[in-house]
């Protein structure tokens, strides 16, 4: 009963005209960046992070969340029609989605992708609504040792799942921690790594770092190659899947939803891993696995449901524990912090309007996305024809404006350009930026919790292994760190490892 009252309260917040507008802007931009290859949800969210300052916290967070789950919908359109994933979670949709389009079945592929996304997104919201308050009540009992170990686990999972060498990913995570510690020490107020520059006293901003590493670096990488697009030009018809299509897709959609939701909750996991795991599962369960890669609708329905369910599930650790499980959620945490809010176990009780308002807005956003992605599909197809030589200079301009507006400080523009160049060379040399960004956000929190635990336990390191939750997290982290040393597990890691930042 309480839950229903809370949901009603949430709808009261989400249905306020200004919040509806922000929700629409969020899902519209999300679909837009999902559709356009080369710009992911991370770049778009970092670009719009300063815009959230102009409204209430509810409006800002509703818009940012809309961009994230909107991009999951939009990404599939590009995968199906152009065979280029709009964002990383839609890579797997290319395999069967584009084949379906080539066979003249672009309509059902787009339709099942949108309906699958809607159903999974809605399920994830119901689950989020039921699980989050319960988990939050448990999380109140968490001490600094548990928080520290959970963050260590999150970072290790992300480095485990990052493409390429794990040593490189761990090095990136360490650099992220160091960058996060620049500025005044929160306990002793001593300046650290500021090199005497006043601009660094408050530390480096999240916005310039993320925009540089993901926005500018992405443009630099894209300018290196001539991007060819094989757009399906035939008129898209029959967006509503047939009875056979629904029959074939129901199982994959259900399994993808549940798998995606749980993978989304795990620290370091997320939509990318969920979509690949769902595809692998469906192929393994299929009586005719040879159809996969040749236009099997199950290969579209499962992964699309999984990545949307994961996008919903990822809100749980952020909202209940205050720990972002991936880079996108780290940006959302940044949006909360900008408004002076700290997500965590107390947020649901202290800020019910915000928490339930965000959840209710996601229901509304999912409905908006269904309308945006089915009847208006023609508009997105036209957008795919926008030339990159016009788009890239404008993206650079928007990142500069976005960074400047976030702090009214030219120094941040320099920081963004520097991180853009660093990010470009990092990517060229096989160093992924995702662990760096997550560690950058988690670094100060990790340090704080580590020092608090050591002070509280009077220097007794066993506090991390005698407390059960902390011990389990650390044990799991150790297993993941050791796993790549074993050839069989290393092969499995290489199969699931992905570029989260794309």
């Amino acid at each position: 009963m309480d839950t229903l009252l809370n949901v009603a309260h949430g709808f009261g917040v989400a249905l306020a005209p200004i919040n509806l507008l922000y929700c629409f802007i969020g899902v519209f931009i999300g679909t837009l960046v999902g559709v356009l290859p080369g710009i992911g949800p991370i770049s778009a969210m970092s670009l719009l992070l300063p815009v959230t300052l102009s409204g209430t916290p509810e409006s800002g967070i509703i818009m940012m969340a809309g961009i994230y789950y909107g991009s999951m919908y939009g990404g599939s359109t590009t995968s199906i029609l152009v065979n280029i994933p709009g964002e990383a979670a839609s890579v797997v949709t290319c395999l069967d989605g584009h084949q379906m389009a080539k066979q003249g079945r672009a309509g059902p592929a787009l339709g099942i992708s949108a309906f699958g996304s809607f159903i999974a997104g809605t399920f994830a919201l119901v689950a989020l609504m039921l699980v989050a308050p319960k988990l939050a009540s448990v999380a109140i009992a968490f001490g600094p040792a548990e928080y520290f170990s959970l963050m260590v686990l999150g970072l290790v999972v992300l480095t485990f799942l990052t493409q390429g060498s794990m040593a490189k990913a761990l090095l990136m995570a360490c650099i992220g921690v160091v960058l996060g510690l620049i500025g005044l020490d929160s306990i002793t107020a001593q300046p650290r790594l500021t090199f005497g520059r006043m601009e660094l006293i408050d530390g480096i901003g999240l916005v310039p770092v993320v925009m540089g590493l993901f926005g500018v670096a992405e443009v630099l990488l894209n300018t290196e190659q001539v991007i060819k697009r094989d757009i399906i030009n035939a008129k898209i018809t029959h967006l509503l899947p047939s009875r056979e299509d629904w029959k074939a897709s129901a199982g994959p959609m259900g399994r993808g939803t549940i798998l995606g939701f749980f993978l989304g909750i795990l620290p370091g996991g997320g939509a990318v891993v969920a979509s690949f795991a769902s595809y692998a599962l469906e192929k393994r369960l299929s009586k005719t696995p040879q159809r996969f890669g040749n236009g099997a609708i199950e290969g579209v329905a499962g992964p699309e449901a999984a990545n949307n369910a994961a996008a919903g599930g990822a809100f749980i650790p952020l909202m209940t524990l205050g720990i972002p499980p991936n880079v996108v959620m780290a940006l959302l945490l940044g949006a909360f912090v900008i408004h002076g809010l700290q997500p965590g176990p107390l947020m649901i009780t202290q800020n019910p309007g915000l928490f339930w308002g965000i959840i209710a807005s996601m229901y509304i956003g999912n409905l908006m996305l269904l309308v945006l992605n089915l009847p208006m599909i023609g508009m997105w197809v036209q957008l795919l024809k926008l030339p990159y030589n016009i788009l890239f200079p404008l993206i650079i301009l928007f990142t500069i404006i976005g960074v400047y507006c976030s702090s009214n400080n030219v120094f941040d523009v320099y920081v963004m350009i520097a991180f853009g160049v660093i990010g470009y060379f990092m990517r060229k040399l096989g160093y992924e930026p995702a662990p760096l960004v997550l560690a950058f956000v988690l670094g100060p929190m990790m340090e704080n919790n580590l020092r608090k635990s050591l002070i509280l336990s009077q220097g007794d390191l066993s506090t991390f292994v005698t407390r059960p939750i902390s011990a389990v997290c650390l044990a799991f982290a150790v297993v993941l760190l050791v796993a790549p040393l074993l050839p069989a597990l290393r092969r499995k890691r290489e199969m699931v490892a992905l570029d989260e930042g794309a």
Partner: protein, 161 residues
């Protein structure tokens, strides 16, 4: 990565240089941690986490160096093989010039020049299209920020903006 030619004991092994840079950064972080004071395990100081993170950085960088020497790694040349490497260089140069000029020339002049240069230099956009876009978009954004959101952008020595 596997399709790229791999070299072991060569100075142009990109993996080796990546590891060496990581090692240098790790040593720097350790030194910074020591300078800031480690404190004790009962009461960790400002440099405590930096110091141990630096040690971890050195360990991971050493692992990368060892792997580059035993398993080899792609050269810098192969990393940029078939890539139009001049294009990112042009963008980087344009951005650097923009960063230098921003406070001096102001937002409007420097951003109009930046967008125009990028449009002409990456994959040339026709002049009749490039000129209006590079003038209208930055000017429109400036107007929106100034009059819509009340955000003032640098106006430079000419006071434009």
């Amino acid at each position: 990565m596997s399709d790229q030619p791999s070299v072991r004991f060569k100075l142009n092994n990109s993996e080796l240089w990546g590891g060496l840079i990581g090692l240098a950064l790790g040593i720097f972080v350790i030194r910074s941690g020591l300078k800031l004071k480690l404190g004790t395990i009962h009461d960790p100081g400002s440099g405590f986490v930096l110091f141990y993170t630096g040690i971890l950085m050195c360990v991971f960088a050493a692992a990368i160096i060892v792997a580059s020497l035993t398993e080899g790694g792609p050269t810098f040349g192969t990393r940029w093989k078939d890539a139009r490497w001049t294009k990112p260089v042009i963008v980087i140069v344009c951005l650097t010039v923009f960063a230098v000029a921003l406070e001096w020339a102001g937002f409007l002049l420097s951003s109009i020049t930046l967008v125009l240069l990028l449009m002409r230099l990456i994959d040339p956009v026709r002049w009749p299209l490039a000129v209006p876009i590079s003038i209208l978009v930055p000017t429109g954004m400036w107007w929106l920020l100034k009059h819509g959101l009340g955000i003032l952008l640098p106006s430079g020595i000419f006071g434009i903006g």
